[in-house]
C-alpha cells in the first residue's frame, strides 16, 4: 500500500515538473538531496570525533620518551607465524580497500538502475567488511590472550640503554644476550605473574647496575583498543546497514521508489568514510 502511494505521488510531481519529492523550498541546496547532504555532515562530525581520538593519541605519544615500535608489536600472522612486521595489517588494509572498490561499483550499478549489479556488488562489500572484522577479532585476541595487553597494562617496552640479560625468558631471549638502546621487548607472564627480566646495564652513567625490564607507556593499550575498537564499531554498524540496504535493493524497494538507488549512494558514502578513517589509523598506529 505504502509503496503504491509513493509511486502515485512521484507520478504527480513529474507531471507538475516543479515539485521534487518532499523538498518545498525551491531548488535543492548544493544540488544534493536532503539525505545525502545530512550524511556528509554526519560524516564531518564523525571525522571530528575520530580526530579527537587520534590527536589525543598524538599528544600522548609525543609526551613519552619511548613508544612501542609498531613493527615489533604487530608482527604476528595467523598460522603461528612471528616476525612478519606489518604483514597482517597490510592484508586488513587491502580487504577494506577492496570492499570500498566493490561499494563504488554497487553505486555505479545503481545509477544505471541495474538491480542485480547493485545486489551482487553489495554482497561483495558485506563480505569484505565481515572479513575485516574477523581479522580485527584475531588481532585483538592475539594482543589480549597471547600477549596480555590490557587498557591498563602495556607489556611492550623499549630499552633506553645498552645492556646484557642476566636471565632468559625461555622463548626468544637467552641468558647473556646483549641489546642496544631502542631494542623492543615484550614482558611475558609466567603462571599468571608478570616476569620482567633482569639485565646488567653496560653503558652510560648507570653502567654496572642491575635493572629490570620496565613496562611500556601505559596509555598505549587504552588508545589502541579504544581507537581501533571505535573504528571496528563503525565497520560493524556499516555491515549491518549494508545488509539492510542490500535486502531492500534485492526486494525491489528502490526500483519502486524511483530515486536511483539513493540509499545505496548514502551507505556508500558512509562505507568510504570508514575506509578513510582506516587510512589514518593505519598511518598513526602502524606506519609511523
Amino acid at each position: 500500500m505504502a509503496s503504491d502511494t509513493m509511486t502515485h505521488e512521484h507520478d504527480t510531481t513529474h507531471t507538475t515538473g516543479q515539485d521534487q519529492g518532499s523538498w518545498k523550498g525551491g531548488s535543492e541546496p548544493f544540488k544534493a538531496s536532503y539525505g545525502k547532504l545530512m550524511m556528509w555532515y554526519f560524516l564531518l562530525s564523525d571525522a571530528f570525533t575520530f580526530s579527537g581520538f587520534l590527536i589525543a593519541y598524538g599528544a600522548l605519544r609525543f609526551s613519552m620518551p619511548s613508544w612501542p615500535v609498531p613493527d615489533f608489536v604487530f608482527s604476528t600472522f595467523p598460522g603461528g607465524f612471528h616476525h612478519k612486521p606489518l604483514l597482517f595489517v597490510t592484508v586488513m588494509t587491502f580487504i577494506l580497500l577492496a570492499s570500498s572498490y566493490t561499494m563504488v561499483r554497487a553505486v555505479q550499478e545503481g545509477h544505471r538502475e541495474n538491480k542485480r549489479g547493485v545486489v551482487v556488488w553489495m554482497i561483495w562489500t558485506i563480505l569484505g567488511g565481515a572479513i575485516f572484522l574477523g581479522c580485527q577479532a584475531w588481532e585483538w585476541n592475539t594482543l589480549i590472550a597471547g600477549e596480555h595487553m590490557t587498557i591498563k597494562v602495556n607489556p611492550f617496552g623499549t630499552h633506553t640503554e645498552s645492556g646484557k640479560y642476566l636471565e632468559g625468558d625461555g622463548r626468544e631471549i637467552k641468558e647473556g644476550d646483549v641489546f642496544t638502546a631502542g631494542t623492543s621487548y615484550l614482558i611475558h607472564k609466567n603462571d599468571g605473574e608478570w616476569a620482567p627480566l633482569k639485565y646488567n646495564v653496560t653503558e652510560g652513567a648507570a653502567a654496572g647496575t642491575v635493572k629490570e625490564q620496565a613496562f611500556g607507556p601505559k596509555a598505549f593499550g587504552a588508545l589502541f583498543f579504544f581507537i581501533t575498537g571505535f573504528h571496528g564499531f563503525h565497520v560493524f554498524s556499516g555491515v549491518a546497514f549494508l545488509l539492510i540496504i542490500c535486502v531492500n535493493a534485492a526486494t525491489g524497494l528502490y526500483t519502486r521508489r524511483r530515486n536511483g538507488y539513493e540509499m545505496v549512494e548514502k551507505i556508500g558514502l558512509y562505507w568510504h568514510f570508514v575506509d578513510l578513517v582506516w587510512v589514518f589509523v593505519f598511518l598513526l598506529f602502524y606506519l609511523l
Binding site: P29, F30, L44, L60, R61, H272, F280
Partner: protein, 119 residues
Amino acid sequence: MSSLSFEESKSIANKTIIILGLITIFEVLFALLGKGYLIEGFHIAHVITGGVMIILSLVKAYLIVYEFMHMKYEVPGLVRTVLFPTALLIWAIIAFTYEGSYWGTSRVNVKNKIEVPIK
C-alpha cells in the same frame, strides 16, 4: 550528480583502486626499508619516512574522498562546507602535539611522583 557515463566512471574507479593499492604497498615497504628490515644495516631517518608516509596518506585520503565519495563532482558550496571545518583540524594537530611534547619535557620537573603499582 556527475555526468560521466557508466563506462567512464568504471574506468576511473579501476584506476583509483590500483593507485590506492600501489600507494599502500609502497608505504609498507618504505616503512620496513626505513627501519632496516629489508636491507641489513640500512636505515632512513624517521623524519623522512614519517613525512613521506603522511603525504602519501593524504593522497590516499584525497583519492577516497574525491573519487570514491564523488566529492569531485559535487557543487563547490558543498565541498567548502565539508572541507573548511576539516581544515581547522590542522591547528588542533599542531597545538596538541606541541602541548604533548611540553608534557614530556616537563615530566622531569614533577615532584612527589605517584607510583602506581601494576597488579
